[in-house]
Subunit: 243 residues, 2 copies
DNA sequence: CGAAAGCAAGAGCACTGCTCTCGTCTGTGT
DNA sequence: ACACAGACGAGAGCAGTGCTCTTGCTTTCG
């Protein structure tokens, strides 16, 4: 009764599905989402284009599957960077994860465009993508948690008018973190992808040359903005606040 | 002699060109860049699709024209906000310009996607778009200049390793400003569009609710990050609140 | 075993970007 | 004033697309 023993047919289905996605991803990486053609995928796979509709009901559904995979991929890259940097202090871990996300984006520009550029299919992201999209954000939340545990988490300012929204976001995202930090984190999350997007999409052409150094500095500043403090040499006292 | 008196034909040409762009912009706003169809534009204008190629050599060229117009439009919106806020202090002017850019983006999501989302035509922005794209950035540079004149421009930190790149960018963009501020400004510029893009593209769905207030706070923090200080006090020990 | 469901293939529809050709009209130089 | 080169619009046509429908074949399961 196990799903793999369910028969030759079920096994072939997931194999063909994977083959379609692989070929589609190949074409996506080569030419971009606009040029991705169902017929071309079918042609490359040696099957009739109509047969492909047994696996994906439409081109947009195929793209949605690729979007979810891309979210998974970039999320996995972030998690791998977090795990590889588990020995470092939170501020440094933040920067390393940011850099890993940037490297992934530069290595997969078209997939990056699919998920963080204009949402191509239809226009609105299906709900399936929401959990996959949350993976990267969750890595950052984990770093903040660790920083709070190590008492190296500063608390940014928060204008009184934003307090209700900050409390709401905090309850949804990380009830164990101070709302000031959660609010700053959400902003930094968007700002990070602004930095990466500008580089991937060429907005930094003729503006920023040493992009790696520039990004690293920007990521460091983001870390400070969300309250992550570099470790103090004097181990004893933990400064409570800093502006 | 003058280009307008050059004849009925030249006049008709620019009129038809404008009509094509208008109709294309209409379809772009309604359905997005992916659905923009040359034939549909021609159909709506009552002309043969082949005739349209007398005005734009390809669909991508049409899109490029729309991109340039969109850059101009968002640039004009930023400049208008700057001019309307000429009486305010630089920090407030910064925030008002940011909010104007955000409002423009929310009002023209597909055009925003065209210029700051994934670059659709081919993949690489033609050089024609570079000067148009610089308009928004120049508004921010002007605000920094004014702040420097009013002596309310703080100087952010800059790691030594980034000094050469900072000097290079400063020479290119604003030689009269401190490199520390120019570097922070370039980063804030990208981060601003990260914030706006996340909102326009739906990444804030089920995350941020009170987006206007959230954005205002984030824009204020960006202002501080680039060195713009609120006018009265120098130290940020108390939350600077202003209605 | 036989019915039911899954699957592949082909033909076909409506649409796209783009090219080529063929008349028509316009601006201009002699 | 006239003729000619160039701009223009329209139509046909090509290759390609997403997608549907029908027709046979194979696997699964009652």
């Amino acid at each position: 009764m196990s799903s793999t023993a369910r028969g030759v047919r079920a096994r072939a289905r997931i194999e063909v599905t994977a083959a379609i996605k692989d070929e589609a991803r190949r074409q996506l990486a080569e030419e971009g989402a606009a040029k991705l053609s169902l017929r071309a995928v079918a042609r490359e796979l040696g099957m009739a284009s109509s047969a492909l509709y047994r696996y994906f009901p439409s081109r947009d559904e195929l793209l949605t599957a690729l979007i979810i995979d891309a979210y998974d991929s970039i999320g996995a890259a972030a998690e791998a960077a977090r795990d590889a940097a588990s020995g470092s202090d939170p501020a440094r871990r933040w920067t390393l994860v940011c850099e890993a996300v940037r490297v992934w984006a530069l290595a997969h520009p078209h997939e990056y465009a699919l998920i963080y550029g204009s949402p191509v299919p239809g226009y609105t992201a299906p709900d399936d993508t929401v959990p996959a999209a949350a993976r990267v954000g969750h890595v950052f939340i984990g770093i903040m948690r660790a920083a709070q545990g190590d008492a190296c988490l500063d608390r940014p300012e928060l204008p009184p008018g934003l307090r209700p929204e900050a409390d709401r976001m905090t309850a949804d995202l990380a009830p164990d973190l101070p709302p000031e930090n959660v609010t700053a984190l959400v902003a930094a999350w968007a700002e990070l992808f602004g930095l990466i997007g500008f580089e991937v999409f060429g907005q930094f052409n003729r503006v920023v040359e040493d992009r790696k150094a520039f990004f690293r500095h920007a990521a460091d500043r983001l870390a400070r903005g969300v309250g992550l403090m570099p470790p103090q040499q004097g181990e004893g006292a933990t400064p409570a606040r800093r502006a």
